[in-house]
């Protein structure tokens, strides 16, 4: 059974952060260690919430606790990091992860030194910063994310358009040319990131998901639903993680991987949308606060591959 360490937010009610990532991975057969960066009653999209952030010291302690009982280099196939609420928390995570999992210093004469370096876990990172032109974390996280992306430890990142633009320092102005040059800038700035997905980008009046693997870029149209969904970015990252390990020994982001994710995500969002309609008894709505993740769980175990119209840039 594959194992993952997932570091993201916890909410008591609803499906964002770890609550949108852990269950899908588990249902797809993963053992998931969940390290929670927050302990909130619900997500802020409700307009009000209560609870606390996990302090950087607590995060550091929890990772230290894991290191004492596990071989963190070889016991995990995958590390996912998502919502991280503060600069210090992000620094602590990066310090711990880089020094204990990715440092090449073979000073540890423990059992793990005999393992080939290719057996270190993949790190998939969702640089959660904000959406639609607005940051929802402190600006100070941006340079820390940049440092992490330059470290060479991260295999894949899953920003949305705003996060991508913020990190790379470009704007995509809804044309393919600007997307193309933005991706070039991305590669110049972060040459050590082999895989990228921009979860959604609007080009013209359509929405696309953009994939990038070692210099090749492609995009797939997303069937847009007239509604926004809290937590879909986190679910997206979880689905990408599942799919990149699904009959895909190289763990590269291929059009097939992205295409399959989009099919599954669309089914879950459609189901969520339909459930909300029933719940709202015909009243109009523009956003859904809680994904119908549990009642669409059968989608998660679907291993069939779907044909997709893929365009290359």
């Amino acid at each position: 059974m594959p194992s993952a360490l997932s570091i993201s937010s916890h909410v008591v009610h609803g499906y964002v952060g770890n609550r949108a990532m852990v269950f899908p991975l588990q249902y797809a057969g993963w053992d998931v260690d969940a390290l929670n960066t927050t302990n909130y009653s619900n997500h802020p999209g409700y307009g009000k919430f209560k609870g606390t952030k996990t302090t950087p010291d607590q995060i550091s302690d929890l990772i230290e606790g894991l290191e004492a009982i596990l071989n963190v280099k070889s016991d995990y196939e995958l590390i996912i990091t998502g919502y991280t609420p503060s600069e210090d928390a992000l620094k602590v995570i990066f310090d711990r992860v880089s020094s204990n999992i990715y440092s090449s210093s073979s000073s540890s004469s423990s059992s793990s030194s005999s393992l080939p370096s290719s057996s270190v876990p993949l790190w998939i990172l969702d640089p959660v910063l904000g959406d639609n032109g607005k940051l929802y974390v402190s600006e100070g996280l941006i340079p820390i994310y940049e440092t992490i992306l330059k470290s060479g430890y991260v295999t894949l990142i899953t920003p949305n358009q705003f996060e991508f633009e913020t990190l790379v320092g470009v704007k995509i102005d809804s044309s393919l040319e600007s997307l193309k040059s933005a991706l070039e800038k991305f590669h110049d700035k972060f040459p050590k990131i082999p895989n990228l997905v921009i979860s959604s980008v609007s080009i013209g009046d359509k929405m696309y998901s953009v994939g990038y693997n070692k210099g090749k870029a492609f995009y797939i149209e997303v069937e847009e639903i007239d509604c926004s969904f809290s937590g879909c970015g986190d679910l997206f990252t979880a689905l990408i993680s599942i799919e990149i390990f699904n009959d895909n020994p190289s763990h590269e982001l291929t059009p097939k991987v992205l295409g399959n994710v989009l099919v599954k995500l669309n089914k879950i969002l459609q189901h969520t949308f339909e459930s909300e309609k029933v719940k709202m008894k015909g009243a109009p709505f523009t956003n859904v606060k809680d994904l119908s993740l549990i009642s669409s769980r059968h989608v998660l175990t679907d291993r069939t591959s779907h044909e997709h119209e893929v365009e290359y840039l």
């Binding site: 008591v12 260690d33 769980r297």
Partner: protein, 329 residues
């Protein structure tokens, strides 16, 4: 029909105890599960080392306020490991409040210890009694030791057991009592764990299930047990096979739960042993120690993920409910 539940128990980053043992099986059974983590630890304490913190009283009250503010409602609440009396008091108040406005099923697993060893503050005992005396508990799942603590009485004989179970029904108005494990009772065979069930208003008619012991090291079993029990009782009621308070409801549900437990524990043991031996063979000077020490613990974590297909078991159960009175002539 969607069904929602609030789970209040421990969280560990690694491994399967508390919420990690309970929530996934419930989600697989279609429950929308909200989760309050009473503690946030790196791993369970059986490893010999762990890191992490407990929730403070103010924090749990804030969380209750937060979820109340957005108007969430539940069909069921389950509470498990709670490390101190302050938190128990807050939980009692919240459950009481929720029950005053809706019909929900509350399962209390009064997790306090096992085999004579207490793993919460001593003051939890009286706080659980206080909670119970508000008569909000529908189902309770103590093990033998926890039953003794709640009843202030050693359970050594069948009569002791009857007295205690009856005490819980009568004093606290608990409809369904399940003693998840009895291992030390006069007249019972060793090599077996006994599980006792009793439903209020069926005077002194306790059923016993006799479960062959799997010799291994399991943690989190009680947490999985209570989650499965809640699911089975709830869904057997929903399917209208039983009416509330029927004796058959609890007997049938527990039989199903024990059947799932056995499947899960057998799988846990065999997969654990396999991985343990593999790693031992591949690492000469290793961190892999003897079975049952801190280093081998990780191999015997409940195989919750791999047991997914067991949770939907709907058969009649592979065990036989015995009448307590009849087997001890």
């Amino acid at each position: 029909m969607s069904k929602s539940l609030l789970s209040i128990q421990s969280h560990v980053v690694h491994g399967y105890v508390g919420g990690k043992a309970a929530i996934f099986p419930l989600q697989c059974q279609g429950w929308e599960v909200d989760g309050i983590n009473t503690v946030n630890f790196s791993n369970h304490t059986g490893y010999g080392s762990f890191k992490g913190t407990s929730l403070k009283k103010q924090e749990i009250e804030d969380i209750f306020e937060g979820i109340s503010n957005i108007g969430v409602e539940y069909n069921a609440i389950i509470s498990g490991y709670v490390p101190n009396e302050e938190l128990i008091a807050s939980i009692a108040a919240y459950v009481k409040f929720m029950k005053s406005s809706s019909s929900l099923l509350y399962l209390l697993d009064p997790v306090m210890g096992d085999q004579g060893y207490l793993y919460v503050d001593k003051t939890c005992i009286s706080q659980y009694k206080k909670l119970l005396s508000t008569k909000i508990v529908d189902i309770i799942t103590p093990n033998q030791f926890e039953l003794e603590l709640l009843c202030e009485k050693k359970v050594q004989t069948v009569d002791d057991l009857k007295w205690c179970v009856n005490h819980i029904h009568k004093t606290y108005g608990v409809k369904y009592v399940v003693v998840s494990s009895l291992t030390d009772l006069e007249g019972l065979q060793s090599d077996y764990i006994y599980c006792a069930t009793s439903t209020a208003s069926y005077d002194n008619s306790i059923n016993l299930f006799k479960i062959p012991i799997i010799k291994s090291y399991f943690t989190g079993v009680g947490d999985l047990f209570s989650a499965l029990l809640l699911d089975k009782v709830y869904s057997n009621l929903q399917s209208n096979s039983y009416r509330e308070g029927d004796k058959g409801l609890l007997v049938h549900s527990v039989n199903q739960v024990l059947t799932i437990m056995t499947k899960t524990l057998k799988l846990t043991h065999s997969l654990g042993l396999k991985a343990f031996n593999n790693d031992k063979a591949s690492r000469s000077s290793s961190k892999v120690g003897k079975i049952n020490d801190g280093d081998s613990m990780k191999y015997f974590e409940l195989k919750i993920i791999q047991s997914r297909e067991f949770f939907s078991y709907e058969g009649k159960g592979e065990y036989f409910p015995l009448e307590l009175d009849s087997i001890l002539q």
